[in-house]
Symmetry: C2
Subunit: 374 residues, 2 copies
Amino acid sequence: MIRCSGLFRPDHRLWRPGGERTGKVGRMVRVTLHEVAVEAGVSDSTVSRALRGLDKVDEGTRARVRQAADRLHFSFSRNASSLASGKTMRISLLFSDKLNTWFDASVLQGAYEVLYPQRYDLIPSTVSTYEQLSAFFSRLPADRNVDAVIVASINLGSGETDILKRLTIPTVGLDSRTIEGFDASVLLDDRKGMHDAVALLKRLGHRRMAYVGMPEPGDFEFSSQRRGDAFMESALAMGFQPRDLLRIDVGRRADYRTYDEAVGSGVARVLALDPMPTALCVESDGYAIALIGGLRKYGIRVPQDMSVVGFDDADVAAAADLTTVHQNPEEMARSAADKALALMRGEEPEERHSLADPILMLRGSTARPPQRAR
Amino acid sequence: MIRCSGLFRPDHRLWRPGGERTGKVGRMVRVTLHEVAVEAGVSDSTVSRALRGLDKVDEGTRARVRQAADRLHFSFSRNASSLASGKTMRISLLFSDKLNTWFDASVLQGAYEVLYPQRYDLIPSTVSTYEQLSAFFSRLPADRNVDAVIVASINLGSGETDILKRLTIPTVGLDSRTIEGFDASVLLDDRKGMHDAVALLKRLGHRRMAYVGMPEPGDFEFSSQRRGDAFMESALAMGFQPRDLLRIDVGRRADYRTYDEAVGSGVARVLALDPMPTALCVESDGYAIALIGGLRKYGIRVPQDMSVVGFDDADVAAAADLTTVHQNPEEMARSAADKALALMRGEEPEERHSLADPILMLRGSTARPPQRAR
DNA sequence: TTGTACGCGTTATCAT
DNA sequence: ATGATAACGCGTACAA
């Protein structure tokens, strides 16, 4: 970083409550509803009603009040409103991973799209260990600080579930393991996605396949387990022989010093299989792409020698031309936000608990197995 | 003054959809500082001091208060605290694009990392037109609702700049066009990045190159312009001939019905060049990758026939093995947040305005030009 | 070290 | 339709 000289502004940021409003920057400082009332020549209550668009306000007065407010650049103090009304107009979004992961960022965007127009602010938080989760929840009489909580991708323990049940604000689960404790939820139908992937591979002629799982960081991941189970069940149901179904668990990322090592481990595990499978279902796109890179280094061509199917359809999947199971976290988040909105209004959501359908995206990482293996 | 906390609970605060929740709804509802005081047998102010860790509190008392607070599951009402103290403990983050773009999501994460430990909440917002921007700013006596504003990737007009200057809360620009109006800023040195890219291509032996730009959605994008200019300047300074430097502006995404069409347009423009350049510098990774796909369909091999350099080094770049100019928005956001923190404390940031250095990432999309073109 | 009392900017109730 | 006035829950000079 290079140093630049900055323009220095002496004044501001030194505001003391109950203290002097040391003039400084001129006005523009903290216009209150009361000042608008004075300016418009009406009472505080009238200003409040007029500006909030309540009825029982003469349209003439309302106009005058609006003008006065504009003139003074008035805007409500959310804090004061919240304190008085009991509604915070804020919603907490809890994640288990970094906010810039594909999934979490999409959820944020989706929720934002429906909540912002309703004038709700979104407050994202993350927890990555059960300890943090527990801390978050124990302080969660967030009753007082937010109007609803949306919990994304977090596998709650019974302690948290209990707290959830007692909360007086609506709670919505997103991609959670169970719907237990939530007032509403949106889950992905992992099983269906995996079923479709396996069905594709079978149709292509594959006889021997493996599932490769590597949980992402965090204590709460469980989709690996779920997807692996779905893989086995689907394949068995379709007539695959147990001896032709392999399951490789690479471990967690934290078990390795670098991501490359984790990938190398997966590659080694695949190469060690004898005979090698002709197709791989991988838990997530990121690991699938890395795996493909690793296999190619060892002369395994994808898709000629090995078909690979990912899961999620993150942006990288299209870039890497990866066949994968598509899910739409933005849409799921919109749905979750809609449910939260309904619950906050005291209404019944269209559907308390819903299940989103994944879609198989056919791209270049899958093909018929090599001749010798058919 | 008479206190009747707990006696009168306006029921617009009690949320109960579909009637009662199994039993427990009992108390867990709204514990106030006062109740803790009663439980601990001290005054309200003592509780306040004890829980906030101020000195001049007997450690014995503090312990008792803490226990009482835990027992009652007390947590502060941020609204009330804010109202009383004048600090909101919230920071506004303004973006010009969807929150789930690589850049914006990374900024969010970076800012979160430094602000959350300091107990600040992050409030993300987006604006995509000047109208929205103007609305955001006109209501921005957000003085009252947040303690600082971080503005990311937004090209402010003079109107907004003026408002910025009058704001009484710290404002930090991130990836903005100028530092005008901001108390502090973090910018990327686009010029250096583009210079390095051009230098690489020259060293590889390229003689004829093109810059391809396509602004992302939104009214505020200007990096395209900036990067294109830097491309031309760098190349000319390195001795390239003007006739060997092409500049292709594909237009904005909104000009096309689909992204594929926009990509097709770029491909056509490149193919139409005669003689074709042997190297392309593309404004962003996403478009670079798409372009490569399009060119390959027309038999142009990358990198054998055409070298391509992207910009940003988003996740997709590594997956697509794209040579690109790396920038680190997470780190930039951390820096911006640090500055905001210092300004809010009334301190002078280490550096008011800083410039981040991009790094050229050498990957598989660049090579020497074909024989015939050397 | 601890307690008292008032203020922060709105909303909501009850008069008028 | 409009105006007083009491909460809302906490911070903080100032008194004890």
